[in-house]
Symmetry: C2
Subunit: 626 residues, 2 copies
């Protein structure tokens, strides 16, 4: 985004086109406003047909492009879908649906819904909303949720048993004691969307408050589907020149929000000269201060939250374009050059060293090795082993054009090549997002036959990392595929709109070469995490780090991430059933790396730390789906 | 069942056919025995190929019919799938699968699995079992679970970080403090089957213990998929004549178990003269003491746990066979006769009373009304209104053959019939399993136009009841249909293998006639239940009771059930995601009766009482599926 969208949220508009013209002058991009006149507070007995005049302005005041681009409809706040009396509920439902239908008719892009009044008891709100969601064509539903709340729990002590045509129930009776409890607004949101089964058209309109919650709670909101942020003008401070400004913490929050596709709506009354304009200018100013996208961020931008199947370079031959992309990762090949230089330094100066690049692709590692040989001042013979015949053509051309006189091109699968040569250094780049997931262990176990007894493998070690994550966005992306198999598949994805419930932990480690003992690449891990905040687990994020040689490493683990490296996105293992956890709860993630005679696969499972709630084990036998 | 199956569970058999011949003499029906000789304790390095002799007896000692009918395979107890070291786990997995494969090869009907050793941490046991379940063709898996346990939690303090080829994890670290806690064996079972997603081939072999748990806990087991009960012979007492006998509480337990399709296996050493025979005879004696099936039970036997779509008599015409079945319910029509008699007694003696039967079917209510007129000594004119033209043929024949001289047959839908006649009494039988679910309210609202201002409707009131239930059997029956719609449908089913988490509560009530005020048949209910035991909610059971007139009622609510009445089975509303609750937890069940211009439907939802975990709202708009 080169610009942000700044709108104005208002509870009353008399003449919409006139108001829009007015706020456009203050650089406002659009408006969130009631679509029905609030004076027309309707009830069940007063329907449109019984009135003389229309209940609201005509749709003809603007064309539909105007409605879509500039207007979000505010659903009336007085609607109480969870009222104690059935007649009030039924009347509320009718009005709600009337307003939604009108919004849909106008082609506005979204309606903004009031926050549920009855925090722990918004079942009917959720039910009515869920019906609207399943019927919506294009309309989005943005629920206003405040960042913090001091309001008391709105809990009725007991529902009356109105024996006929009434509301039957005693559901809320035991809530009495809770009235003074502090409400976590995220709980309100979670209850609503869980009841609507994380519907992809249901989003959050986050109301920014003067007080801000903890950094962790803000992080959690950044993992939710926030489409709008509402900024009351009374939370702005005044700078020395009399202009509006935000506190440091609010500025930091804004910087986070800018990273997501969010519309901003000013609300309330302007309290500084110049009406809305200085607020709008200030927000654009904040936006302009954000750091420029680096090369990595530019590369990644189109892939945010986009699910991809992991590459299978062992089964499929990569395409030229794929090679091209990955060859541009200068950081990675510099690290390889450093590692090979260090490893060559360990070899005898007087002897020609043998370097084998296994899986040479279009040659980037050969180039790294050639540069390293120069840097380490060693005489070398090199072998570039590659199974993809298309890549071999490139390698043979490079041998000529770049004068790789000491390089032998071997067109063979590294697992089948037979040679009497023995390498001092074997270099490979077979790692996937989860380290071993592209079968690096199996390939290198075969290739180590070409290695001297005290030869070096680069990389010499790699470790996968996992952490449970919340991301209803990704969960929905998996769900729309509408098959069991889609939940039994790991995805490569540049995680963006997600929240990690805890810091990552190490999962599986592999080292190379392994000359002693039986080689067994099966692994099992059971990892216990303690959650920092209440959250819902939708899946497990996976990362890796690798030791190329000595202190030269590559990492995509979030805290260790190698600066500027863009070759790998994280991996995401989805869960069929989201699992809700409370703050401080433990969660156990089980992972298995399994093998049969002709394949390797993962199974995974998640349980609460108390051993009471268990998600099914995912991906049993993998082959049952093939 | 006219007989029970009594087998013998043994940990060692040398010569299987000889042993079988021997125990057959003691009236034993079959045997549960290891299929591998326990002396051949194998590990990963000693596979069958490396031995001289076979590891176990040949499959040729019996034909496959013999294996299937008489033998259940005991999986070796020493197999520790959740051992701390990976090598022990991998070896255990190999042995486990070898034994399962052999059992499958022999065509035994089931294998009996040892109870998981690591109660809160049997993830790998579950994973291996889950793989076997997804691959099994006919083989069932019966997991031994003791009714009570005093064993200590088998929890290792901390798993070692064996950096390579080892087991990665710290999952169990925080379990240390729990070692002395009393284990609920049901928790062990629930963890296992939840991880295997309630697989339909996974069952319980319940080990009867000398101590018995509470009646409620036993009830909960009767809701589980128990396929076998193992009875150690050392829990038998000795009666005055020196024969084995069970305590009163055990006898009561047996009476419960007899109601399900369960095999019984004696285990341990016989401690009374005559070897196994007196134990077998005693069990058959207990079985023979059970009360004979009454007419209702006989009628219901083939329908236990069988899911049916609710009747839609308003949309479809019932078949002759359906009428025939329901007409046999003498209790129901006697109640109608009593109610009509009481109602007629309220009419003036000197005046001819008008009785209308709306939805007369093949005439059973007309007969009740005619008998009632005799009993009350009232002169009547009757109208039998029926929309099904096939049933009308029957009615017209009956009018002739049974001389219904004062009865007028009206071939019409009660909602469309136009007449100037006004009834003193309107009789109908339009109730479904959930009371209003076959649209009785809508039909009677239309038909009340024929009723005098102070006329009487029989029934005059009906109420639905609900309670959350556990039944992995029914949940699986819904799941095999493999569509979202199957979880959004209520089923009529004679609930048998289920456990109600709490007593029922009233849901919706309707009264007739309703001459005053607007008629609104929409309803909403939010009901809070407190669970008696930890359990998993798989759905909501529904029932109804009806007041025909004054104190004459019909009821299928479990505690009020009308003796001998068999016309209605309960209704079952499934949940897509099972919801686990702890003992004493509250659960809130929300129910909505909704209507659009041309249909009526229910939506339902379940949440934990703390408002933290929510199941999606089921069946939104119903029409999205049509």
């Amino acid at each position: 985004m080169s610009r942000i969208f700044v709108g104005f949220d208002t509870s009353f508009v008399h003449d919409l086109p006139a108001t829009l013209d007015e706020v456009y002058e203050d650089k406002i991009n659009g408006i969130a406003a009631p679509l029905f006149h609030p004076r027309f507070k309707r009830d069940d007995h007063e329907l449109s047909d019984l009135r003389d005049g229309p209940q609201t302005r005509s749709d003809l005041v603007m064309d539909s492009r105007g409605w879509t681009a500039s207007v979000v409809g505010n659903i009336s706040k007085y609607i109480d879908l969870d009222a104690t009396t059935l007649s009030v509920r039924l009347s509320a439902e009718k009005i709600f649906k009337q307003e939604v239908a009108w919004a849909s008719h106008l082609s506005v892009r979204a309606v903004m819904l009031p926050s549920p009044r009855h925090v722990y008891n918004s079942a009917n709100y959720a039910r009515v909303l869920n019906q609207s969601l399943t019927q919506a064509q294009y309309l989005q539903f943005w629920v206003r949720i405040p960042l913090t709340t001091r309001q008391q729990l709105n809990v009725t002590a007991s529902m009356e048993l109105d024996s006929e045509a009434g509301l039957r129930g005693s559901a809320m009776k035991t809530d009495e004691g809770k009235e003074d409890a502090q409400i976590d607004p995220w709980d309100t949101w979670d209850a609503l969307r869980a009841r609507c089964e994380y519907h992809p058209k249901l989003h959050v309109a986050l109301e920014i408050t003067a007080d801000l919650p903890s950094t962790e709670e803000i992080q959690r909101w950044l993992g939710e589907s926030v489409k709008a942020a509402i900024i009351p003008m009374n939370i702005f401070l005044t700078n020395r020149k009399g202009f509006p400004t935000l506190s440091q913490r609010h500025q930091k929050l804004m910087a986070h929000l800018f990273q997501h596709n969010i519309q901003f709506y000013l609300s309330g009354r302007p309290r500084h000269r110049g009406k809305l304009l200085p607020y709008v200018q200030y927000l654009h100013f904040l936006y302009s201060k954000r750091p420029n996208l680096d090369r990595k961020a530019q590369f990644e931008a189109p892939y945010l939250d986009y699910l991809q199947a992991p590459l299978q370079p062992l089964m499929d031959n990569l395409e030229s374009q794929t090679y091209e992309t990955f060859e541009q990762d200068a950081f990675k090949y510099n690290q390889y050059e450093k590692a090979i230089t260090l490893a060559l330094a360990k070899t005898r100066e007087d002897k020609e060293s043998v370097v084998m690049v296994v899986g040479a692709g279009r040659g980037p590692l050969v180039r790294s090795a050639l540069r390293a040989a120069l840097a380490a001042n060693r005489k070398t013979r090199m072998f570039a082993v590659e199974k993809n015949p298309n890549a071999v053509i490139t390698l043979r051309n490079l041998k000529t054009s770049e004068k790789w006189d000491n390089v032998t091109i071997v067109a063979s699968d590294m697992r089948n090549w037979r040679t009497d040569e023995r390498a001092d250094i074997m270099v490979s780049e077979l790692l996937g997002s989860f380290g071993d997931n592209e079968l690096s262990p199996e390939c290198l176990d075969g290739a180590q036959n070409f290695l001297q007894e005290n030869g070096i493998s680069i990389p010499c070690e790699y470790t996968s990392y996992v952490t449970p994550v919340m991301s209803s966005k990704l969960w929905n992306e998996v769900k729309v595929q509408d098959s069991l198999k889609s939940f039994e598949t790991p995805y490569v994805v540049r995680l963006h709109n997600f929240y990690a419930l805890a810091r990552t932990q190490k999962c599986f480690t592999f080292t190379h070469p392994k000359f002693h003992g039986r080689i067994d690449n099966r692994r099992q891990a059971e990892l216990r995490f303690t959650t920092t905040e209440s959250a819902v687990v939708h899946g497990v994020a996976g990362y890796f780090d690798a030791v190329l040689f000595e202190d030269v490493t590559l990492s995509i683990e979030p805290e260790l991430h190698s600066d500027g490296m863009f070759s790998w996105f994280p991996i995401f293992f989805p869960l069929r059933q989201p699992l809700r956890l409370e703050k401080g709860d433990d969660i156990v993630v089980s992972f298995w790396r399994l093998e049969s005679s002709n394949r390797v696969w993962y199974e995974w499972s998640v349980s609460t730390g108390d051993g009471k709630r268990h998600n099914p084990i995912h991906n049993p036998n993998v082959s049952v789906y093939e």
